[in-house]
C-alpha cells in the first residue's frame, strides 16, 4: 500500500533469474568481455542512482571511476596484497566526492554549475595524470607514468592469500558479485526514507527543505555513495585491463556513461545497467571495424534520445506497455458494457 512508484521496488523473481543466468554463464560463454560489460553496468548504475533518483547530473562521473582505478593500482603496487587496495579504491573516491559535493551543495549552486564543476574536476584529474611522466612523479613505489599510465600492478587475490590471484573466471564472479551487491544496496537505500527524501529533493528541493530535511547533507551523501560504487567499478576495470591510463578520466568516458544512463532509462536502476551493457557491446563490436566510427554512433544516439525519447529506452517501453494495457482494459470494459445491450454490428 505504501509503495512509491518513484523509488521502484525489488523484483526478487527477476533478480534471482538474473543471478542464476550470470552464475551459469561461464559454462557456455567467454567471461572476459562479459566482465567488462558488468563493470560498465556498475559504473552506469552508480550514475543512474545519483541522476535518476536524486536528480543530480554529474558531467564528470568518470572522475570517481578513474580515482578508483588509480587508487587500486597505486595501493596494490605499494602493498602487494589486494584487500586494502580494494577498500581504498572505494573509500578514496567517496572521500573526494564528499569534499567536492559538500563544497557544491552547501554552496547552493545550480544544476548548470554542478555540471560545469564536476566536468572541470575530471579535466583537472585528466590533465594532471597525463602529465606525470618520469620518475619524479610517484606515490610510494608506484610511478604514475603520465600518459602511459601504470602497468603491471598485482591484481585482485583471495583476501589474505596474495599468491592466489583471481584471474579469469574468478574475476568474472567478482564482477557479478560487485554489480549485484551494489544493486541490492541501491535498492535498500531507495526503499528507506533516505531514498524517498532523494526523490523529494529531485522533485522540489525547496519544499524538501521546508519539510525540515537537510538537503545539502543528503545530496552530499548520495554523491559520495555513487562515487564509491563508481570507484569500485574503476578498481575492477583496472584489474580487467591490467593497466590504468589517464583515459579513465577522459571526456569520452564521462560522456559515454551519461549516454548509457540516458538511453537505458533515467529514473530506474535497471535501465542504466541494460543501457551500458547494450551500448558497451555495440562499442566493442564497432571497435573491431573502421567503417562506422563509434563517436558518430554515440553522438547520433544521444541527439535522438534527447530529442525523442528523453526518458530513455526502459521507461519509454514501460510507458508504451502501460498505455497498451490501459487501452486494452478500457476496450474490454467498453465491450462488456456494450455487450449487455448488444446488437450485432452490421
Amino acid at each position: 500500500m505504501n509503495e512509491w512508484r518513484a523509488t521502484g521496488s525489488m523484483q526478487w523473481g527477476w533478480f534471482l533469474l538474473a543471478l542464476a543466468l550470470l552464475v551459469l554463464l561461464p559454462l557456455g560463454f567467454d567471461t572476459h568481455t562479459m566482465s567488462l560489460l558488468l563493470i560498465w553496468a556498475l559504473f552506469a548504475m552508480s550514475l543512474g542512482l545519483l541522476w535518476g533518483y536524486a536528480g543530480l547530473l554529474s558531467f564528470g562521473h568518470a572522475a570517481w571511476f578513474g580515482l578508483g582505478a588509480y587508487t587500486y593500482a597505486i595501493a596494490a603496487v605499494n602493498i602487494g596484497e589486494s584487500t586494502v587496495p580494494l577498500l581504498l579504491a572505494i573509500l578514496v573516491p567517496a572521500a573526494g566526492a564528499a569534499i567536492v559535493g559538500a563544497m557544491m551543495f552547501y554552496g547552493r549552486i545550480s544544476d548548470v554549475y554542478m555540471g560545469v564543476i564536476t566536468l572541470v574536476v575530471t579535466l583537472i584529474l585528466f590533465n594532471f595524470m597525463s602529465a606525470t611522466a618520469g620518475d619524479a612523479y610517484r606515490i610510494g613505489d608506484a610511478r604514475l607514468g603520465g600518459f602511459n599510465g601504470i602497468p603491471g600492478f598485482p591484481i585482485l587475490n583471495v583476501p589474505g592469500m596474495p599468491e592466489v590471484s583471481l584471474f579469469g573466471v574468478p574475476m568474472y564472479y567478482v564482477c557479478v558479485a560487485a554489480l549485484l551487491g551494489c544493486y541490492l544496496l541501491a535498492r535498500w537505500l531507495l526503499a528507506r526514507s533516505f531514498g524517498r527524501i532523494l526523490v523529494g529533493i529531485r522533485e522540489n528541493e525547496a519544499r524538501c527543505e521546508l519539510m525540515g530535511y537537510n538537503v545539502p547533507a543528503c545530496k552530499t551523501a548520495v554523491f559520495a555513495i555513487s562515487a564509491a560504487m563508481a570507484g569500485l567499478a574503476g578498481c575492477l576495470f583496472a584489474n580487467w585491463a591490467e593497466i590504468v591510463t589517464p583515459g579513465v578520466f577522459s571526456l569520452r568516458q564521462t560522456a559515454e556513461v551519461i549516454i548509457w544512463v540516458l538511453v537505458g532509462g533515467l529514473g530506474t536502476l535497471l535501465g542504466p545497467v541494460l543501457g551500458a551493457m547494450a551500448l558497451g557491446a555495440v562499442k566493442l563490436y564497432l571497435g573491431e571495424q573502421t567503417v562506422i566510427d563509434n563517436s558518430l554512433v554515440l553522438g547520433l544516439l544521444l541527439i535522438f534520445v534527447v530529442l525523442g525519447m528523453r526518458r530513455g529506452a526502459l521507461p519509454t517501453l514501460q510507458g508504451w506497455w502501460d498505455s497498451r494495457r490501459r487501452r486494452l482494459s478500457l476496450a474490454q470494459g467498453a465491450r462488456r458494457r456494450l455487450g449487455a445491450s448488444s446488437e450485432p454490428t452490421a
Binding site: V116, V120, I124
Partner: protein, 288 residues
C-alpha cells in the same frame, strides 16, 4: 627586461586566445542561455575548413577570415534548425544534445579527414625580442582578437541589431515586445556564434597540427571562461579571460604548462563557487 617583455606578451596572447575561442560561445550563452558543448568542434571545423582551403590554393587570410566563418556559420544554422530550436529553456537537455553533436562531428571529421594531424604554416614570420625568438603570428592573433571584441562591442552598442541582441539577453519577451520574432533572433544569434567560432578556428589553424579531437581542448577553456564571465558577453568574457590568462601563464612560467592549466581549472572552480552569477553578475550588472 626582455624576459618581462616575453612574459607580458605571452600573457596578452593567452588572454586573447581565451577571448577568441570564447567569443562565439559567449554570444550564444549570453543571449540565449544555451550551452553549446559542440562549440569546440565548431572551432575545430573552422580550422579544418581553413586548412582544406589553403591546401586547395586559396589565400590563407581569405580562408581563415572569410570562408571559415561562412562555412561554420552555415553549419550552425543547420544545427539550430534541426536540434537547438526544439530545446529552448531546457538547459540540461541542450547540454546533452550538443554533447552528442560534438561526438557526431568528431566522428564525421575522423571519417572524412582521418586521424593524422593536418596543418598549415603560419603566414607571419617570427621576430627577435632581445635574446628570445618570438612567434610573430601570436601578435596577429592578439590584433585580430582586439579588433573582433571592439567590433562586437560597437555592434551591440550602436546598431539596431545590437539593441535587439541586448534585448534578447534580458529574455524572449523583450525581443517580442520590440516587435521581433524571438525564434528568428535566436536562429541568427546561434548562426553568428557559430561563425565566430569558425573564425577563431581559422585564425588558430596555423598554430599546431589539427586533429579531430582538437575541439576537446578548446571546449573546456571556452566553457569555463564564458560561465565564469557570466551573462555580459563582452565585459564578462574579457574579465574572465584576463584572470585566467594571467594565472595560467604566470603559473606556467613558474612551473610547467600543465600545472598552469590545472591552476586555471582549479581557479575556475573557486570562482564559480564564490560567484555563481559569474563576474558579470557580481560586477557588471546590466553591462554588455
Amino acid at each position: 627586461m626582455d624576459y618581462a617583455g616575453v612574459v607580458a606578451l605571452e600573457i596578452l596572447y593567452m588572454i586573447a586566445f581565451l577571448a577568441l575561442i570564447s567569443a562565439g560561445l559567449a554570444i550564444v550563452f549570453g543571449m540565449m542561455r544555451v550551452i553549446n558543448l559542440a562549440h569546440g568542434e565548431f572551432v575545430m571545423l573552422g580550422g579544418y575548413t581553413t586548412i582544406a582551403c589553403v591546401k586547395a590554393g586559396v589565400d590563407v587570410y581569405l580562408a581563415m577570415l572569410v570562408i571559415a566563418p561562412l562555412v561554420v556559420g552555415a553549419m550552425g544554422l543547420v544545427v539550430e534548425r534541426l536540434i537547438i530550436r526544439w530545446l529552448y529553456g531546457r538547459i540540461i537537455d541542450t547540454m546533452l544534445a550538443t554533447w552528442g553533436l560534438s561526438l557526431l562531428l568528431v566522428g564525421l571529421v575522423t571519417l572524412i579527414f582521418g586521424t593524422s594531424a593536418v596543418s598549415v604554416p603560419a603566414p607571419i614570420p617570427g621576430y627577435q625580442l632581445g635574446s628570445y625568438q618570438m612567434g610573430g603570428y601570436n601578435l596577429f592573433i592578439i590584433g585580430i582578437t582586439v579588433l573582433l571584441l571592439v567590433f562586437m562591442w560597437a555592434v551591440l552598442r550602436f546598431t539596431r541589431a545590437g539593441l535587439i541582441a541586448r534585448g534578447a539577453m534580458q529574455g524572449p519577451e523583450v525581443v517580442a515586445a520590440l516587435g521581433y520574432d524571438p525564434g528568428k533572433v535566436y536562429m541568427i544569434t546561434f548562426t553568428v556564434g557559430a561563425a565566430l567560432s569558425g573564425l577563431a578556428g581559422g585564425v588558430l589553424a596555423p598554430l599546431t597540427g589539427l586533429l579531430p579531437s582538437s575541439g576537446g581542448a578548446y571546449i573546456a577553456k571556452a566553457f569555463i571562461t564564458v560561465i565564469t564571465g557570466g551573462a555580459a558577453a563582452i565585459l564578462g568574457t574579457l574579465s574572465s579571460a584576463a584572470i585566467f590568462g594571467v594565472i595560467n601563464q604566470l603559473v606556467s612560467f613558474a612551473s610547467t604548462p600543465v600545472i598552469g592549466e590545472i591552476a586555471m581549472l582549479a581557479l575556475a572552480i573557486v570562482l564559480l563557487r564564490l560567484m555563481p552569477q559569474g563576474i558579470s553578475g557580481r560586477f557588471f550588472r546590466g553591462g554588455t
